[in-house]
């Protein structure tokens, strides 16, 4: 009997100006990254509200990654600096509540870094796969 291989669900919030373009570049350069990564384009990484992350977990995500421009390169000058502070605090809080810290990540990926995008996603999927299903922030009502 064939055992179904566990495939995590990953939500990647990508900023419109750098990381989304980075993902595009990864695509056009035919750099492979797992199909489990669902990219959501946001105008800036600082558009990502903590609620978005929790809701992604609620709806069945096993890992959430936020990608933005490198610090200093934000299209809106300072958006990603705020992201950095917010996510540092949020991730620390999730860890404090005993939720696996490996499930959340922030990466800075520029429009030129298609390879980094693919590598980051590959690495993240691997990390989350090793962790297994999200049990601690799941909403049982959303289970199929």
């Amino acid at each position: 009997m064939q055992v179904n291989e566990y495939k995590p669900k990953i939500v990647a919030f990508c900023c419109n100006w750098c990381s989304y373009a980075g993902a595009d570049l990864a695509g056009s350069n035919r750099l492979a990254y797992p199909a489990e990564v669902k990219v959501i384009r946001v105008p800036c990484s600082c558009r990502v509200n903590p609620m978005f992350i929790l809701r992604a977990f609620q709806r069945g995500a096993d890992g959430v990654i936020i990608c933005g421009c490198h610090p200093g390169d934000c299209h809106y000058t300072s958006g990603n600096y705020y992201t950095r502070r917010r996510m540092a605090l949020l991730f620390s809080m999730l860890d404090y509540l005993g939720i696996e810290k490996e499930r959340t990540r922030v990466e800075w990926v520029s429009a030129a870094e298609g390879a980094k995008f693919a590598a980051t996603m590959n690495d993240f999927v691997q990390t989350v796969t090793a962790l297994g299903e999200n049990k601690r922030l799941e909403d049982l009502r959303c289970k199929k």
Binding site: R59, G60, R141, C142
Partner: protein
């Protein structure tokens, strides 16, 4: 009347558990007692009462009503109701037992609420007399005797024994099944305790509170009372009083989209919340004063109006203990009722 030594309580609980799920008050962290499933090793709480009332057993904070599957223009309605299991609640106080009657008049009146009814049918209530009422207790105001609580079986706990007396057919059946470990006994010890409790009742700080000024037909008298402004002026609009209240039964029906269907659930709602009466085109109770007034008018006037003078409060004192700003039904009754009630 039957009795069992307190040292054999665990045996009693184990025997009841064999027949049905048994819930009893258990001490939790930070002084919060709550009803928990009895298992080997679980100790009954010594606290006077649980923080949450016992209404959860019949009217849980959230429950799924039904599910829907939607696809294109099609909707499928799925009835998710299941047959409920028998269960026994041990240690319900007189006030909470009375609250079931108040809830019954809402949920079991036509058209009967089948979710509530099916739980009510399956539950056996073993009440427990209150040996040591607290200063916040005022059940006597509503004609409740904490020394002789209602329920399917009434229990009294003395220093050495637990006394049990069945009041209903359900109760007799359960009590008879416990004959193996209980023994027949006289009522002397129980009568003695009743006297003791009665003596304590006369010492409680709220012993003189009366409902004389409230009840049927008092809407006009109190609705426009200027006292509501002052009483409600610092109400936070939170739902603490309504959620710890054993008789508050307002609910909301909401849909939750799970991504692969819609679950329609019912949850407790609070008339203290600003969106309680919010509609697409407006709100009939715009200020906290109106919402505050609604809660107390409902308990003291509207409910009695519709239920032959029965009040929708049992004097359990939870709102006295838990309101963040210590504004509660006793203060409302004293203020509205005027001097005689002070």
């Amino acid at each position: 009347m039957r009795k069992i030594s307190l040292s054999n309580l665990d045996k009693l609980f184990a025997l009841i558990s064999e027949k049905a799920k048994l819930y009893l008050p258990v001490d939790g962290k930070n002084g919060i007692a709550s009803f928990k499933l009895w298992e080997e090793g679980v100790q009954m709480s010594q606290a006077l009462n649980t923080t949450r009332s016992a209404k959860d057993f019949f009217f849980p904070q959230t429950e799924n009503l039904m599910e829907f599957k939607t696809e294109g223009k099609n909707i499928e309605i799925i009835d998710t109701r299941t047959e409920k299991e028998d269960f026994v609640i041990f240690g319900v106080r007189a006030c909470d037992v009375k609250s079931f009657e108040i809830l019954d008049r809402v949920f079991l009146s036509e058209p009967v609420d089948s979710y509530y009814a099916s739980r009510r049918e399956k539950g056996v209530i073993i009440s427990l007399a209150c040996g040591r009422p607290a200063e916040t207790c005022f059940c006597k105001t509503f004609g409740i005797d904490p020394a002789s609580p209602e329920g399917d079986i009434t229990a009294w706990k003395t220093a050495t024994d637990l006394y049990l007396k069945a009041n209903t057919e359900k109760g007799e059946k359960l009590l008879a099944s416990l004959d193996g470990i209980t023994e027949a006994c006289g009522e002397e010890a129980v009568e003695e305790q009743k006297k003791e409790i009665s003596a304590i009742m006369d010492k409680l700080p709220l012993k003189d509170l009366t409902t004389d000024k409230f009840g049927v037909g008092k809407t006009k008298e109190y609705f426009n009372s200027p006292a509501w402004d002052e009483l409600s002026s610092h109400c936070l609009g939170c739902g603490t009083c309504t959620f710890v209240c054993p008789t508050c039964q307002c609910y909301d029906v909401k849909d939750f989209n799970t991504g692969n269907g819609v679950k329609r659930f019912r949850c407790w709602d609070s008339c203290m919340y600003s969106d309680f009466t919010l509609m697409a085109h407006g709100n009939s109770r715009l200020s906290q004063k109106e919402r505050f007034r609604q809660r107390f008018m409902h308990k003291l006037v509207y409910y009695p109006d519709n239920n032959n003078g029965m009040f929708s409060c049992v004097g359990c004192g939870r709102c006295l203990a838990k309101c963040p700003i210590s504004m509660n039904i006793v203060k409302v009754m004293k203020t509205l009722g005027g001097k005689e009630n002070d």
